[in-house]
Amino acid sequence: MEPNFASYSVGLMAIIKTEGLTYTYPVATKPAVEDVSITIEKGEFAVLTGPSGCGKTTLCRCFNGLIPHFYRGDLQGHIRVIDFDVRETPIHKLALHVGLVFQNPENQLFALSVEKDVAFGLENLGMLREEMQKRVNYALETSGISHLRLKAPHELSGGQQQRVAIAGIIAMQPEVMVLDEPTSFLDPLGAEKIFKVIRILNQSLNMTVILVEHRLDLAARYANHVIVMDRGKVILDGEPKEVLSSEKARLVGVGIPKVTRLYQRLEEDGILKASEIPLSSEEMIALLRGVLAGD
């Protein structure tokens, strides 16, 4: 096994690479993640999706070392993130490179004010005060919470708390950004704005993004890689259009965009056929216009 794995680390672009990764929580009877072999390239915007309880969060915890260092349990197989073997790298070291927004924001916030919470990660980086101030302001601004900067995080609404957690990672600008259902508490326009900011960071800084999301209506358009899990295993891994149009994705009940579902229903009935499956309402409108032209 070992020699085989060594060759991955010399691969130029792979930033996350797992090989036969299997993890079982302490006292659990079956693995939460089973035989997962995936590669995420530097600068990718990857969306990780799949039914509730399929292992998405567990896999994210492997990316930043919470598994195995905090959760313990049994980890088999290989996982490398950037240049680190996760198993051999302490969490605090990985944390400088991999930022994780938790699924439940309340569990992540602890400072006495929003501003301090957002600045926390930067203090650990030993950043200059001025640069820090600039980053924090940018993060608060783009997350839409400048007006809350002096408030206590535990006295905010659910969505406001989630924005604070996201602002923390936007300020950090880590090489790898892992966001676990980061928009579940956000209002739709807010979610859209935050996806756009993340997309900008992803493109301008070549930051790698891994986004766990059910609401593919909003997220699909930003992704260039989609991974679908089911019962601990990766069942689909590839280009968004390919993955989301596959029969398997539909069968496991992935949150395929509504317009894509509409297209699939019409296609089943033999009424509509496109060379490329629509993922957004714009694409669906263009397709229907093409077909109905000259009506």
Binding site: Y25, V27, A28, G50, P51, S52, G53, K56, T57, Q103, N104, E106, N107, K151, A152, E155, L156, S157, G158, G159, Q160, Q162, R163, E181, S184, F185, L186, D187, P188, L189, G190, A191, E192, H214, R215, D217, G253, V254, G255, I256, P257, K258, V259, R261, L262, R265, L266, D269, I271, L272, S281, E282, M284, I285, L288, R289, V291, L292, D295
Partner: protein
């Protein structure tokens, strides 16, 4: 009936979360409260079962002022599922979690058993009966929180963000269950950001912004009104976006759900 009369609410730190809000939830109604983060939605629905008491104004539940009764008493008829399940769950196993309230309300043991099994099945949690809620995924925990309230069959069910962490299939199950509850005459109130879920359920919608109700109406009226939605930081459902984009081809644009969309498009496409 829940009658909220000119209620304002200010948190101890001085945040004015509600400003003179009036709203009536009739028996058997299905209502969705939507709007931007921090608009006051959670604060509003916490008034419905007395978890919060108004700073001014009053809330009447079946003509009883929530100030004159206890949360424990109100809870039997108004069940409340928290936005964050961690604020609600505390037992050692999922089974105990769901049994807890049932025992408190004096259900006998055989009924407790039946209701627990029923709720576990409904929310797809059977395999977790003996598991600690804290060892579950976020979406599973949310379903335990839903199960523990639905189990005691309250007359009014208030769910704060019920679709959080749920995949398409779970959402579809939840949708069908809500429709069933509602058709049995129960009152259902959901707080949600999930526009696509609302578009398929078609409840009456109340839109909130900055502590006030800014619009009220049917799903069709509200979800096809982009200007009003933007004020509440909500986007138009995908299906409606498509129909709006085709308006010049003679399509009606007040379409929000998948089935209607398919029907309307089929009619036109078949002619081609």
């Amino acid at each position: 009936m829940i009658d909220v009369k000119r209620v304002s609410f200010t948190y101890p730190n001085g945040t004015e979360a509600l400003r003179e809000v009036s709203i009536r939830v009739r028996d058997g109604e299905f209502l969705a409260v939507m709007g931007q983060n921090g608009a006051g939605k959670t604060t509003l629905v916490k008034l419905f079962n007395g978890l919060l008491k108004p700073t001014s104004g009053k809330v009447l539940v079946d003509n009883v002022n929530t100030k004159d009764t206890s949360v424990a008493k109100l809870a039997r008829s108004v069940g409340f599922v928290f936005q964050n399940p961690d604020n609600q769950l505390f037992c050692e196993t999922v089974e105990e979690e769901i049994s807890f309230a049932l025992r408190n309300f004096g259900f006998d043991e055989s009924r407790v058993k039946r209701r627990v099994t029923w709720a576990l099945n409904l929310l797809g949690l059977n395999e977790y009966r003996k598991t600690s809620p804290f060892m579950l995924s976020g979406g599973e925990r949310k379903r335990v929180a839903l199960a523990s309230v639905l189990a005691w069959d309250p007359k009014v069910v208030v769910m704060d963000e019920p679709t959080i962490g749920q995949d398409h299939r779970q959402k579809e199950k939840l949708r069908q269950f809500i429709i069933q509850l509602n058709s049995q005459g129960k009152t259902v109130v959901i707080v949600t950001h999930d526009v696509e879920f609302v578009a398929e359920c078609a409840p009456r919608i109340v839109l909130m912004s900055s502590g006030r109700i800014v619009a009220e109406g049917s799903s069709k009226e509200i979800l096809t009104d982009p200007e009003t939605l933007t004020k509440a930081s909500i986007v138009v459902p995908q299906i409606t976006q498509v129909f709006m984009g085709l308006a010049d081809l003679g399509f009606q644009f007040d379409v929000i759900d998948l089935l209607s969309a398919k029907k309307l498009l089929s009619e036109r496409l078949i002619k081609k």
